[in-house]
Symmetry: C2
Subunit: 246 residues, 2 copies
DNA sequence: TTAACCATTATCAGTATATCATAATTCAAA
DNA sequence: TTTGAATTATGATATACTGATAATGGTTAA
């Protein structure tokens, strides 16, 4: 492993499954000698991306919090989009989570959320949690807004394992329909019992393909509420897109 | 520049002052040839730490949000401390911000905050914002809890410019007094018109030197409120310390 | 105190890799 | 198209990374 990757490979070991690693553990997992990992871990520690934990373990360091702030302050989607979340959520007639998400590698990731004070459910749409590309309104409206070329590259990766491309064609039809409507509603595709409503946020100029979505309890946010919410959701997403454009 | 630093130097260019950089701008600032910066920026982009912006500029990428989440999920202080913030803030008789902060290089940085719904003031204690080491209750209780050796190293760096070490001695006396009391209250040291109350969170075993603090409007959180708040603040910080220890 | 043990750092020759000037390519706009 | 700028590729050189091993440091138990 070489270049930046030898550092990325190390920090990507740390997640909720295993938040602490010894040097020999990392070395074994990465198939590298301990002396090399010691050296690289030391560099990461010096920069605050790792730090020493008890029992000669290491954990992630607070530098990520600093750079997360820098991202929030400099990213155009964060700067223009975040201020719309509070008012949007106040207009939803059920306790909900509002999320701004975006394409991130081969996944979709939420970069900021806002929630009603009295949330009873828990959703996997959390800030910084990569989510599946093909499931859920949040992801689908993003895919639907991509240029054909980029979309095909992504879908070919996702569908590479299935022999027939019937499912892919089916999926493309669904995306076309989403594009026509300008929004997408899904139920239980990602989290059981939850409903997702999403509208696309696009700025080709800024290379931003994102979505604004509302996640709620499917028993509390009813089908009859949708005519009230969807226009607001779509127009808010449009406003954010327009603000990005200038 | 070499190793991890050649990447760090690049991403550290991006902040609220200038959130977008072209390759030639980075190259000039860092005193490196453009071809090298192109290569490094490409590696950073591939990993999601940078991404392309309009007019052949670059901006920070969303990978930092993902790693910020990993940090929140794995860091012991976050895992044990964050759940105490909401109840603490509900007991403060004025709109306030509650913050968990920790030593970070030669600074102090807040890693999570919680605030009352009706905040009127704005504070520089924000998640991920490095703050001065010598000013404010949040920082001082951390310094006061350090071992003499570490404290001296830090202070010698901070006071290196002044010829006499009278100020340093004065400062050490102040810290000793803070240690005795177990808390610290400062007014307007960091943000004008604001008051800070802080108690230390220490786990030598975990190598964690942190603080729990309340930031509030100095005109709303009065001196006569302190006898009510401080015991709660100190005991909450102690509970977090103890939970860390096990 | 010493000894033993583990974690971490230092050493150093060998080698792979980053560098950087330049050339080639891509891309967008005119 | 053509032009110009941005980005990528090239290739010789210098250098920084590697990895086996040795040295150091810190902790615990005898």
């Amino acid at each position: 492993m070489t270049g930046l990757n030898r550092f990325i490979d190390i920090i990507r070991l740390f997640d909720e499954t295993q938040g602490q690693w010894t040097i020999p553990e990392m070395a074994e997992r990465l198939g590298a000698p301990t002396s090399t990992i010691y050296r690289n871990a030391r560099e990461l520690s010096k920069a605050g991306f790792l730090e020493s934990a008890p029992s000669s373990r290491y954990r992630l360091g607070p530098a990520f919090v600093e750079f997360n702030r820098r991202f929030q302050l400099t990213d155009p989607l964060m700067r223009t989009g975040s201020k719309f979340l509070t008012s949007l959520i106040s207009h939803v007639p059920a306790p909900s989570v509002v999320a701004l998400s975006r394409l991130y590698d081969n996944q979709v990731m939420c970069t900021i959320t806002q929630q009603s004070p009295n949330i009873k459910f828990s959703t996997s749409y959390q800030k910084g949690h990569p989510m599946p590309l093909l499931k859920g309104a949040t992801s689908k409206v993003i895919l639907a807004s991509l240029k054909p070329k980029r979309l095909n590259e992504l879908l070919d990766q996702q569908f590479e394992d299935c022999k027939t491309d019937a499912t892919k064609k089916q999926f493309l039809i669904e995306l076309k329909e989403i594009n026509r409507r300008g929004y997408c509603v899904t139920r239980g595709e990602v989290d059981q019992g939850l409903i997702g409503l999403a509208a696309p946020i696009v700025s080709e100029k800024h290379n931003i393909f994102a979505s604004l979505s509302i996640i709620s309890d499917a028993n509390l946010l009813l089908h009859e509420d949708e005519p009230q919410i969807l226009p607001l959701l779509v127009s808010t997403a449009k406003i954010i897109s327009n603000n990005l454009a200038e």
